[in-house]
Symmetry: C2
C-alpha cells in the first residue's frame, strides 16, 4: 500500500485567520499572540488565546511556519541497513542515546531514516521527501555515497559518526587503530602466539556461511570499510601470522559459527580477537558449546565496550566513548544549525581488561 501525499484533500482545519476573525483582530496580530518577539497588549493576547480555545485552534501550523522560516527543526538520523537491526545493536543504541540527549537539548526533532527497509530497497524518495535541516550518519555504511549528492544539493548540515569520510561531513571519529593495537599487544604480552581473528562481514547483504581462513593481512587494502580495515591492520602489526575468518553475517550467531570454525581446527588458537563485542560474545558461546573454558583454555577479546548487562561477565575489550560520540555529534549539529563550522574530532578509546583474557595454558 503506497500512500500518495497529493490526492487526499486537505483536512479542514482551524487556521489563525479564523481565530483572528473571532477575536476581531488581523491575522498578523493574532500571530503576535503566539510569538516571543513583537509587542502586543496582554489584554489582546488574552482575547486571542480565548478565541483560539473557543474554536479549538491548536496553535500555529508547523508546516506553514517551517515554510516561512526555512527551518523544520528536524534532524534526520540515518541508519545503515534496517531500523530493526540498528535497534538490536548495542553500539548503535548507545550512540543514539547520546545523540538523542544532545538533540533534545537543542529542541530539534529526531527523524529516523533507514537506508534500507525491511522489505527491500529503500527508495531515495523517502529520504528526499523529508523536511530535515540536518542529517546525522549514526552508523557507518558503504551505501551512503549514493545519497550524499542529494543532501549536498539541499545544503543540509551533515554530521557523521565514523564516516562517511567525505567533503562536507563533520566527523566524530574514533581512534580505532591505536586501541586495537593496545589490545593486541596486551594479548601478546600475556604470552599468546597463535591467535585467530573473527571479523565482521564486509558484504552488505551479509548472511550465509563464514568465509575461508585467510592470512590477517590478505587483501586488506580492498576492504572499503575503514573501521574494519584499520582494526585489522592494527592486529596485523602485532600478530602478522594471525588467521582471520569473516563471519557470515552481523548477528551473534554468525560470530559463534565463525569462531567455532577457528576452534575446530586441529591446532586451535589460544586467543580469539573478535573485531567487536557481539562477535566476541559469539566466540564465548562457541567456546562454551565445546567445553572450552574461558579464560583458562582460551582468551577472547572484543571491541567497543558495549553495555551488555545480560552477559553476566566482563569482556576484555576496548572501550569506545559510545555515549560521548553521540553527544558530540549532537553538539556539532547544533553548531552547524547555528551557522558555526565545528571541526571534526577523533575521540580516544581505552583498553579494558575483563575476565575473558589470561595467559595461555
Amino acid at each position: 500500500m503506497v500512500k500518495s501525499m497529493t490526492t487526499t484533500p486537505a483536512r479542514t482545519s482551524v487556521t489563525l485567520a479564523d481565530v483572528a476573525a473571532l477575536a476581531k483582530v488581523s491575522t498578523s496580530t493574532a500571530s503576535l499572540a503566539y510569538r516571543r518577539t513583537g509587542s502586543i497588549t496582554e489584554r489582546t493576547r488574552a482575547r486571542i488565546l480565548a478565541a483560539a480555545a473557543e474554536i479549538g485552534y491548536a496553535g500555529p501550523n508547523p508546516t506553514a511556519r517551517s515554510l516561512k522560516s526555512g527551518r523544520s527543526g528536524i534532524v534526520g538520523i540515518i541508519i545503515a541497513g534496517t531500523v530493526r537491526r540498528a535497534f538490536q545493536n548495542p553500539v548503535a543504541m548507545a550512540t543514539m542515546a547520546g545523540l538523542s540527549e544532545a538533540l533534545d537539548d537543542i529542541d530539534v526533532g529526531q527523524l529516523l531514516l533507514s537506508h534500507r527497509s525491511e522489505s527491500g530497497d529503500r527508495s531515495a524518495r523517502l529520504l528526499d521527501g523529508m523536511p530535515v535541516d540536518a542529517v546525522v550518519f549514526l552508523t557507518r555504511g558503504e551505501e551512503f555515497d549514493g545519497i550524499l549528492p542529494s543532501m549536498r544539493a539541499r545544503r543540509l548540515a551533515m554530521v557523521g559518526v565514523e564516516g562517511p569520510h567525505e567533503e562536507g561531513v563533520t566527523l566524530v571519529d574514533i581512534d580505532d587503530a591505536s586501541g586495537m593495537a593496545v589490545l593486541a599487544r596486551h594479548v601478546r604480552d600475556l604470552g599468546h602466539r597463535r591467535v585467530g581473528v573473527v571479523m565482521r562481514s564486509t558484504r552488505i547483504d551479509a548472511n550465509g556461511p563464514p568465509g575461508p581462513f585467510e592470512a590477517i593481512d590478505a587483501d586488506l587494502d580492498s576492504i572499503s570499510n575503514r573501521t574494519i580495515r584499520e582494526r585489522l591492520r592494527a592486529v596485523a602489526s602485532v600478530f602478522p601470522d594471525a588467521v582471520r575468518v569473516e563471519a557470515g553475517g552481523r548477528e551473534l550467531d554468525s560470530g559463534e559459527i565463525a569462531a567455532g570454525r577457528l576452534l575446530d581446527q586441529a591446532v586451535r588458537p589460544t586467543a580469539i580477537l573478535a573485531q567487536n563485542d557481539m562477535l566476541a560474545v559469539g566466540a564465548l558461546r562457541a567456546a562454551a558449546a565445546r567445553g572450552i573454558e574461558v579464560p583458562r583454555d582460551l582468551t577472547v577479546t572484543g571491541f567497543d565496550g558495549a553495555d551488555l548487562p545480560l552477559l553476566g561477565r566482563r569482556l576484555t575489550t576496548v572501550e569506545q566513548p559510545l555515549h560521548e560520540r553521540g553527544l558530540q555529534a549532537g553538539r556539532m549539529v547544533g553548531e552547524l544549525l547555528a551557522g558555526g563550522a565545528p571541526s571534526s574530532i577523533v575521540l580516544p578509546v581505552a583498553f579494558r581488561e575483563g575476565d575473558t583474557s589470561g595467559p595461555p595454558r
Copy 2:
C-alpha cells in the same frame, strides 16, 4: 536569486521557479515533471530535469509540498520517559522494529518524540511544533493524558500500543490478564504455594529502594497503570496469599534488589513471579548471588517473551507477539491516514515454558 534578508538563515536555495526559468517553461509545467499525475511530454520533462540537474535543484521542497497537501508524511512515535531508556528496553525495541517495518511499507517517516528529555521535562513545544500526520504511543505512560487534547485539536490520527485507553485512540492491546493467569496456574500446578511477586515501579520518576512487602491485592485499584494492575490481579486470582514487592526502578538492578529482599526472608518463597522479563533476569541474578539454584531451589518466571540472546538460558514466561503488535500499530496508522477507521484489537499471548521453572524441592 539571493534572498537573505536579515535575521533568517541565509539558506539560499534553488527553487522550482529557477528551474522553470532555465527550461523556459512555467513553474506549473516544471512541477508536472515531478508529479505522477498530469500530462506532460516526455521531451519537456527531460528538458526540465536537465535544467534541474544543471543548477543543482534537489527536487521539490518537502515543506512547501506539505503545506499544499496538508500532509507531512511523518508519523510521531511517542515514547514514555526518555529515548535512552526506551532504547535499552527489549520490549519497546521489538515493538519498534515491527512498527518501523510497517511504516516503511507505507512510506512515512518516523519521528521520535520522547515525552521527557534526559535533562528534565520535555516542553510541549517540541511535541506541538512537529509536522506529524499521526502519532503512535509506543509504550504506555501515565503522562500522556496531558498531551492528548492538543493532538485532538490537531486532528491527528492516534494509535496506541497498550494504551492510552482514551477516546479517539485506536488500540493494539494485549491479553495480559489471561496470559498471566495461565502462567500463575502453571506455577501452582507445579506445586508452589509460597510465591513472591516482583512488580514494576508505578512511580514515574522511579529510582530508589524497593517498596515494602505487601499483600498481592493491596490497593490494586489505586494502580492507574492498567498493564501492571491487570497482571497483578491475574496473579492474585491464583495466589491470593502472594506477597509483592515493588522494584525501586525499572532497570535490571532494581529487579535484582527487590528479588533479593524476597529471598532474604526467613522463609523464602519457592517461586518468584516477576511482572516482566527484565525483572525476572534481575531475580535470576539475585538467586545466583545467593547460591540459590534455578530451577532446583527456586522457580523464576517473567512476562513478555523478550528476545534476550545474551542471557544464555530460556526464561519461563508469557510471550507477547511483540513484533506483531508493532506491525499492527503500523497497519492501523496506514488505514487511518487513508481515511479508514480501523478497530482496536486485542492480541493473544502464549505461555512458554523455559528452564527457569520446576516443582518446589
